[in-house]
């Protein structure tokens, strides 16, 4: 069992338990669309998100974090793996990845996503009110006066006035659009929300508003978040646990406190050391990483990180390191040199 078998969650079995998630994108070439290889975007990850828990999936562009989030929600079809979802304690779990799209539909309400770019994720020709109510209509949850009331209360919940329902997305700033996107995600009373770089495109002062909103909503509605991000200072503040991805795999996972206090994997160490901190008097100790992330089409043999690792040894070429528990089931990492 790998890095993330540890149970997430503050009470009982996790809400979502992902095991062996794989997503390979085929590369086709030539007139007959011959399969010429594949992009191993996600290459076997395990991840658990508990009830009322925020788990952050961090890593650099191309590491597969967004693909992983979308595959769990079946917004793209995963190649292999399972994602056991337990809507209620005590009832058997449902494997979201084994259901047909039709069987999946009733669970869709519980599983939502907030996107990074508040400019691209709202339809410019649909009013704010209709954007939010669409899901309620499709799922036949409400209509007429009840529908309008629900939209109003959702807008209030995300800190906007109900009057804005008749306006169009272009009339709003980035932060306000992100609030609209959050209201849309909340419409069906979800249990689990994938926040895909949900605050990355926002200015600092607006980002703080949205982070506070996400925290308030979590406390009020008992939400679980899979928080996909590259900004480690936001992650440190917001998440309970962290999983660090590199080239399609999770290299380290643990509680936020553990990861920041005792990072174990050389990649995590380098990543943390590269984050610029707003303290000019602090002495910088940076672990420089050479070069760029290799292509996920042809990842390095053995440990994927070895080509950039400052401490790699010959044996790192040989096999992919298994995840090792670093104590108490709250921290594990996949490195030969631990």
């Amino acid at each position: 069992m790998s890095a993330t078998a540890q149970t997430g969650g503050r009470d009982g079995a996790p809400l979502i338990e992902v095991e062996g998630l794989v997503k390979h994108f085929p590369i086709r070439k030539g007139v007959f669309s011959r399969r010429a290889g594949e992009v191993k975007a996600v290459d076997g990850i395990d991840l658990a998100v508990g009830r009322r828990e925020t788990v952050a999936l961090v890593g650099e562009s191309g590491c597969g974090k967004t693909t992983a989030g979308r595959a769990i929600l079946r917004l793209i079809e995963p190649t292999a793996g399972s994602a056991r979802y337990r809507p209620d304690q005590g009832r058997p779990a449902i494997d979201l990845l084994a259901l047909s799209q039709r069987e999946l539909r009733p669970y869709r309400r519980d599983l939502q996503i907030i996107f990074q770019d508040p400019f691209a994720s709202l339809n410019p020709r649909i009013t704010v009110g209709n954007t939010i109510s669409e899901a309620l209509v499709v799922h036949r949850v409400a209509k007429g006066a009840d529908l309008r009331e629900r939209v109003d209360s959702l807008l209030e919940k995300v800190g906007m006035r109900p009057e804005v329902a008749n306006r169009f997305p272009h009339e709003f700033s980035g932060g306000q659009r992100q609030r609209i996107g959050i209201a849309r995600a909340l419409a069906l009373h979800p249990k689990f929300i994938v926040c895909d770089e949900a605050v990355s495109a926002l200015d600092v002062s607006i980002q703080a508003q949205i982070i506070n909103l996400l925290k308030d909503l979590q406390a009020e509605l008992g939400l679980s978040y899979l928080f996909i991000a590259h900004d480690l200072s936001v992650v440190k503040y917001l998440s309970d646990r962290i999983a660090v991805m590199y080239l399609g795999r999770i290299v380290e996972t643990g509680t936020t406190r553990e990861i920041f206090a005792h990072p174990a994997h050389p990649y995590t160490k380098a990543l943390l050391s590269a984050v610029p901190r707003p303290d000019p008097t602090r002495k910088r100790i940076r672990i420089p990483l050479e070069g760029d992330v290799p292509s996920p089409i042809d990842p390095p043999s053995g440990c994927h990180f070895r080509t950039r690792c400052p401490v790699a040894e010959p044996r790192c070429k040989e096999s992919y390191p298994a995840a090792r528990d670093l104590g108490g089931g709250i921290h594990s990492a996949a490195c030969h040199l631990l």
Partner: protein, 347 residues
């Protein structure tokens, strides 16, 4: 770990070699004229950039930091934009009034600029070598073969592995970090006195960002040039800049050395900005926020432009615009534009 790179903050080591100002901007105003009205994107900006130092220009989207930089380069599209007032003194010469011929001599040679998105800044149909050589041939009048030699040495200097092979590649064959290195090689190829870097690392991953910022810092120390670093990231400012100008709604609201600014910010906007950083708040504690949004450049509030979002604004703030006033004279001076500094200190 032997491969760890330790470095003190630049302000501790390479203090300004001399206190000579390289660039002095005084009351610069750049406006954009459209049917909707006048957007006062930059509206009375003043600051000084000394030789051999890095000045951080920080602020949120739409505060006018990029327009300030483009004004210095005289790259404001006209129409709709125009420098309507102020002086941009570069080595004593007022660039706001320089002829286009003078600017062609200065741009690329004396002042060069790198941008946020290196893919759009590079021409996709020319090799990177061709693009660097073009700048060298144009500005330094070198022959093609000598220019190629110089391009190769520049690519090597900015840390591109096997430059002999890479010089004939096209931009799309390179990663984002490599492209930004090419941009830096191009910008540095004529030994500029001033490098303007507009969000040079924002589009890059954090480990690549660290490489690019280290490179800019290293080149600055080697070549003794000045850098104007535009960013919204206070972490990048803290690690790179000597002096910082904080912009809000087309104006500089605070200017100080990086250590005093981060140690004791004085303007309510700067204070609010720091408080909203998740870095500086303990987990579990609530982030403080600046309510509302940045006002539109078409309709700035009267008086102090921050007053609509300021927790201590009074009726005076609506009536009178606060001037930039010196609050301390150490380390190049600390100036703040606020009527209520005592109240701000208690925020």
């Amino acid at each position: 770990m032997s491969s760890e790179l330790q470095s003190a903050h630049p302000s501790a080591t390479a203090r300004r070699a001399n206190e000579r100002p390289l660039l002095e901007i005084r009351d610069l105003a750049t406006h954009f004229f459209s049917e909707e009205g006048v957007a006062r994107a930059v509206d009375g900006v003043s600051f000084t950039l000394y030789e051999g130092e890095t000045l951080g220009l920080v602020g949120e989207s739409g505060c006018g930091k990029s327009v300030t930089a483009l004004s210095v380069m005289r790259l404001i599209p006209d129409p709709p934009g125009r420098i309507v007032a102020g002086r941009i003194l570069f080595q004593g010469e007022d660039l706001a009034r320089a002829s286009q011929a003078d600017m062609r001599r200065i741009r690329g040679n004396e002042i060069s600029m790198i941008f946020q998105e290196p893919m759009t800044a590079l021409n996709p149909v020319y090799t990177v070598g061709d693009q660097i050589q073009e700048a060298i041939v144009l500005h330094q009048g070198l022959a093609a073969s000598a220019a190629r030699e110089r391009s190769l040495s520049m690519l090597e200097k900015v840390g591109i592995p096997s430059p002999d092979a890479r010089i004939d590649e096209y931009p799309h064959q390179m990663s984002g970090g490599m492209r930004q290195r090419v941009m830096i090689a191009m910008a540095m190829s004529c030994d500029p006195r001033l490098l303007i870097a507009d969000e040079p690392s924002t589009a890059l991953d954090v480990t690549i960002q660290a490489q690019i910022l280290d490179l800019i810092r290293q080149l600055q120390e080697e070549e003794g040039m000045s850098v104007m670093l535009i960013t919204h990231d206070l972490g990048v400012i803290a690690e790179t800049a000597h002096h910082v100008a904080v912009m809000y709604a087309g104006k500089v609201v605070e200017y100080a050395g990086v250590v005093p600014l981060f140690g004791r910010p004085r303007h309510p906007y700067t204070i609010g900005l720091f408080r909203s950083l998740p870095d500086l708040v303990a987990p579990g504690e609530r982030l403080s926020t600046i309510p509302g949004i940045v006002p539109s450049a078409f309709h700035f509030p009267s008086g102090c432009r921050f007053r609509t979002r300021c927790p201590i604004a009074t009726e005076r703030c609506a009536r009178e615009e606060p001037p930039l006033t010196q609050v301390s004279d150490g380390d190049g001076g600390h100036t703040v534009a606020c009527h209520h500094l005592e109240q701000a200190a208690r925020l």
